[in-house]
Amino acid sequence: MLDESFYQKADEIIANHTKEERSLIPIIQDIQAEYRYLPPELLTYVAKEIGITDARAYSVASFYENFSFEPKGKYILKVCDGTACHVRKSTPIMERLRSDLGLEEGRQTTDDMLFTLETVSCLGACGLAPVMMVNDEVHSTMTPDKATELINKIRGEENE
């Protein structure tokens, strides 16, 4: 069960939009921006509020890679694995990050909820390949070592 405050927040967000089917994506984007993930209970709640079935809402939300039903870490690391980044060796970066963060296959978020590791298909910065993002910040011409450095820096800041 979600805390009552989640529903209040959802009501606030819904109030910024019209209660109709086409508002679904903007509303759940706002919810995800708030909580860094889309709590399943809130998707069902939004569906009811805007008058669509939960099956339809889930169909839309599960279609987009961008929506996550699992809580995400404070720092979302997006490693680009588009063609340009891939040929310029994004895979070793990914592997290094996995081992640094202790994430085995199938797990994306660290137990301390600090990091979530994802791949994306293209960030549109192919000239700077290989590229990764930490939340909204782009890091270019990455190497495995630079990635480790980045993680350590964030961890250091967090421990202060």
Binding site: P40, L43, T44, T53, D54, A55, R56, A57, Y58, S59, S62, F63, F69
Partner: protein
């Protein structure tokens, strides 16, 4: 209006919505897996792809016919494409055909055979999904799903339930309820229309044949069956008998030979429903409370009403459905040792409906804690059982159903078609029962396949407005209109399946393309052949009220919807 050239032959078209319909009209059975005329066009399977004179290919389901169009349906290129489409579908499919419930009736299997798929050149990359058997009505096996979307559109377009939808995308796409929940935790009403359109074994009936076979073989169990009106005009489909032919006599015979001790007619239960429901309608008219009265014979509709419009639940008739009427009365009758002969009673209902399987499990379907009906078998299961028994259905003699519940009035029989309940109530309320009176009722607009019908019920020179609805999306439309104050009625009959029970989710599916007209005709013909037109004139019903039912009318014939199910 215009002419098209299809495979070199001139074909006229009028108001066909797409090229595909024109091609089919020209006697070419162009393959499809995702096209159903009553659903929105989806264009996913691409099997109906055709070629024009310039070699351009397009899906004929989603192209409007144009005058002068030239279309080829069977070029070597198209045949190659079709074969490849099927090979690709099979490459991600659970291909255990021999043990599949749909084997022999599977559209995918048939097309693969027809298009010459003898091997699948691709590695099978099917990922295993759990089978969902949580619903008493249907079983969902995603391993057999080809993502044609027929069920999704049926559930949404026609039934307005939308319990299932596409989830995820690309290679991980499936059809499932939200969050992959179990079906019995969703708003699924169990109508089974998804199963009717499913071309494969991905959605099938949750069958109950095995325990019935066991009981039939047990000498200490008396197995009784009731047969719903819509069943008798559909079984023949499976045995190459004319569509819509009433084969009640044959069904009674084969059931006796299979070991059923007594075979009765649900039309008898329908007569009880008519009498009680008419009475209830008059009471509500007198008190002015809870109008309009909604019929409640259809468990799909009842469940829809409870989930989506709980505010209307008090409008539902408290009268039991014909099946439950019958079940309760039969239980009471067989309490008497003179009737049960010291044996255990197993009460089986043979129904055109998958939702009935859920209805018997509800609390109000029990009397003194005991379920009135033990098992519901759908028409499709009955057909399977007849085939398994080896009885040659086409050739068996006719037999009449057993006493004391073997006679139903004509009013009880027409329950199977949309409008039947209303017509039966109109007959009950008519002062006279002259031929002309019956004729006036028949021509009141209550019959026919339209989704929403408006009629006037006359009682003691006063006129009351009634509506007859079939298909839950139509019901939803009507409810919206009522709630917005656009229209109002005193009596509303709702059947979850379009055209009523004759097109129920448990019926054999071949005739569905014919729109069920033949089945409706079959039922109305059965009515013509019955001398007793009005439910209250059924002599067996009258003696029941004077005997067995005395003092127990409410307990046995009514139920309470105040408590929502689950």
């Amino acid at each position: 209006m215009g002419f098209m050239t299809i495979d070199g032959k001139q074909v006229e078209f009028t108001d066909e919505p797409n090229v595909l319909s024109v091609i089919r009209k020209a006697d070419i059975d162009i393959p499809t897996l995702c096209y159903h005329s009553e659903l929105s066009v989806y264009g996913a399977c691409r099997l109906c792809t055709v070629e024009n004179e310039k070699g351009k290919t397009f899906a004929s389901c989603s192209e409007k016919p144009k005058d002068g169009m030239v279309v080829y349906t069977n070029t070597p290129r198209l045949m190659k494409y079709r074969k490849m489409i099927l090979e690709l579908l099979l490459a991600a499919h659970d291909r255990d055909c021999t043990t599949c419930i749909k084997s022999g009736e599977c559209h995918l299997q048939e097309l693969a055979h027809r298009m010459g798929v003898t091997t699948v050149p691709y590695k099978n990359r099917m990922t295993h999904h759990e089978i969902d058997a949580s619903s008493p009505s249907i079983i969902r096996n995603p391993n057999k799903c080809i993502l044609c979307g027929d069920c999704v559109r049926m559930c949404d377009n026609v039934q307005a339930v939308n319990a299932i939808d596409f989830t995820s995308r690309g290679t991980s796409a499936t059809v499932a309820p939200a969050f992959n929940k179990l079906l019995n935790t969703t708003d699924c009403v169990g109508c089974g229309q998804c199963r009717v359109v499913c071309p494969t074994g991905a959605i099938s009936i949750n069958t109950n044949m095995d325990p019935v076979w066991e009981a039939l073989a047990d000498p200490d169990t008396k197995v009784i069956a009731q047969i719903a009106p819509a069943v008798r005009v559909a079984v023949g489909d499976a045995f190459d008998l004319p569509q819509g032919e009433n084969v009640m006599g044959k069904i009674v015979n084969v059931l006796h030979r299979m070991g059923f001790d007594e075979v009765f007619d649900t039309a008898y239960g329908a007569d009880l429903t008519v009498i009680e429901e008419s009475e209830e309608f008059l009471q509500r008219l007198a008190s002015g409370e809870n109008l309009p009265l909604f019929t409640s014979c259809c468990p799909g509709w009842v469940s829809y009403c409870e989930h989506r419009h709980p505010e209307l639940a008090k409008h539902l008739s408290t009268t039991r459905s014909p099946m439950q009427m019958f079940g309760a009365v039969a239980r009471e009758y067989y309490k008497d040792p003179a009737n049960n002969e010291g044996k255990k009673i197993l009460s089986v209902a043979i129904m055109p409906c998958t939702a009935k399987k859920g209805e018997i499990l509800r609390d109000e379907s029990k009397t003194d804690g005991i379920a009135d009906i033990d098992y519901v078998l759908t028409t499709s299961e009955l057909i399977t059982m007849i085939k398994r028994s080896g009885l040659m259905f086409e050739d068996v003699e006719l037999e009449s159903s057993d006493m004391p519940f073997g006679i139903g009035s004509g009013a009880g029989v027409i329950f199977g078609a949309s409008g039947g309940v209303t017509e039966a109530v109109m007959r009950r309320l008519a002062d006279k029962h002259s031929r002309s009176e019956m004729e006036t009722i028949r021509n009141s607009g209550v019959r026919g396949g339209e989704g929403i019908k408006e009629i006037v019920i006359t009682y003691q020179d006063k006129e009351y407005k009634a509506a007859v609805v079939s298909g839950l999306a139509n019901a939803e439309k009507l409810i919206q209109q009522i709630e917005s104050g656009e229209c109002n009625y005193d009596f509303i009959e709702v059947m979850a399946c379009r055209r009523g029970c004759i097109m129920g989710g448990g019926q054999p599916v071949d005739a569905h393309s014919a729109g069920g007209e033949a089945r409706a005709k079959g039922l109305y013909a059965a009515d013509v052949n019955t001398q007793i037109k009005k439910s209250n004139e059924n002599p067996l019903v009258q003696s029941l009220y004077d005997g067995l039912l005395k003092g127990k009318e409410h307990k046995l014939l009514h139920r309470n919807f105040n408590k929502p199910s689950q």
